[in-house]
Symmetry: C2
């Protein structure tokens, strides 16, 4: 039997212009296309935050806007979830995600759906997931989008789905009491919190991520629970770099950098 | 003419059991009753936050739930406001606030109203303030309040007014574009943000206050603007103590400790 973790074997999963990146975690690799959207630190921090906030019994996870599948791959390594589904509207990104899953030998554990989260009721069963994660497009449209069909635009701007679409899909897919984890931009905090409440996902934990001590945050990580009571915990901030420009200890221990 | 800043002269403003505390700011003093609610660091930080976020032209400020008048006194020192109104439902606290204003020779600048913020339309003109500040009761009722008429209970729990009452009064009193500044508990963040939006006060800035680096915040400071567009700035956290258990530099420079 072939061992798909051998580099030479991995290359059969590659298409034109793509490369294989080492995730430095459990021997995992991911296929990326340098000409399209590549995952960033936000996705890695979300996976660490989601792992820390996963419910005790977390059998099934859904990752919305999964892109090239970075979050399902990392959650397969960081949680005890039995099954993870990733959904992505862009055909090329979904294809890369699917090939990355197969290349890592995770086809039994991760499914990639190439579909639109706005059609979640046609694609999956209601209230069937213990956790939903999402690294959504951050920016509102209408600020002069040059090329609305460009892959990077779709990944960053609310062209193909809005925050409300993301929260609708999460509300539909989550079991009552299920956990929702999202990374977003600080300037969207009020939209995120009010939107979650509108969709009966009560905000339960917020963590701000700051490049250095004394900086405004560059990201927020937020956890909510479907149908839960009020009261949120604001956690101690996560600081990325210390004064020597090295990752802080929390970045190593919690987030696995 | 008598000089009301002389200690011996000040004592004529005191009633049984009360004391005079030095605010260490512009020669200001405040009358407090050690048996009743005394102001804390939250009020002082709110005044510094409000001064930093005051609109350029800030003629009239309203302080809701003013208690013994700490916020109007500090804002008289820290801002260029021409006039400040404090409103307090508890007769004894309002009386102390009024005597503190007179004792400091600030009767021309600060008015104290002994009244209920739920009756704001009978007590003041709509849309007549440039800024509204509030250090409200933090805790929901219904967690077994022992003595609902006790002064400390009224100051800490939503017995006499709820967050929604506070935001209703602020919405009523603020000019369009006027600034709202509040200190609250971190666990109420979602209530605060969604409540502000419900009352057309868009959250524009959030600052978390942490006892030490690495601690969860113990307070939040939030600024909103009536009728403003979406997008909030999350500011760098305020840390109270450094690793030598001294106040941090920001506590000295911005907040005047």
């Amino acid at each position: 039997m072939m061992n798909d973790t051998e580099p030479s074997v991995k290359e059969k999963y590659l298409q034109n212009g793509e490369r294989i990146d080492d995730l430095q975690r459990n021997g995992l690799y991911i296929i990326q296309d340098p000409g399209e959207f590549c995952f960033g630190m936000d996705a890695v921090l979300l996976s660490g935050f989601a792992a820390a906030h996963a419910p005790a019994s977390c059998n099934r996870i859904l990752d919305l806007c999964t892109g090239g599948g970075i979050i399902p791959l990392l959650l397969a390594a960081k949680t005890k979830a039995r099954h993870i589904t990733g959904i992505e509207i862009q055909q090329k990104a979904a294809g890369r995600a699917d090939r990355s899953v197969r290349m890592n030998g995770l086809s039994d554990k991760i499914d990639i759906i190439n579909g639109d989260i706005k059609e979640a009721p046609e694609l999956m069963k209601a209230a069937s997931f213990d956790m939903v994660t999402v690294n959504p497009p951050y920016f509102r449209t209408g600020h002069g989008i040059i090329n609305p069909t460009d892959s990077k635009t779709v990944s960053r701007h609310e062209v193909a789905c809005t925050l409300d679409d993301v929260l609708s899909a999460a509300e539909y897919a989550l079991k009552n009491g299920g956990v929702f984890c999202m990374v977003h931009k600080p300037q969207r905090l009020a939209d995120v919190i009010c939107g979650m409440r509108d969709h009966h996902i009560e905000p339960k934990a917020l963590k701000t991520v700051h490049p250095r001590i004394g900086d405004d945050p560059s990201m927020i990580l937020i956890e909510g629970r479907k149908g839960a009571g009020e009261e949120i915990r604001i956690e101690a901030p996560l600081v990325i770099y210390n004064d020597k420009d090295e990752y802080t200890e929390e970045m190593y221990t919690i987030y696995g950098y």
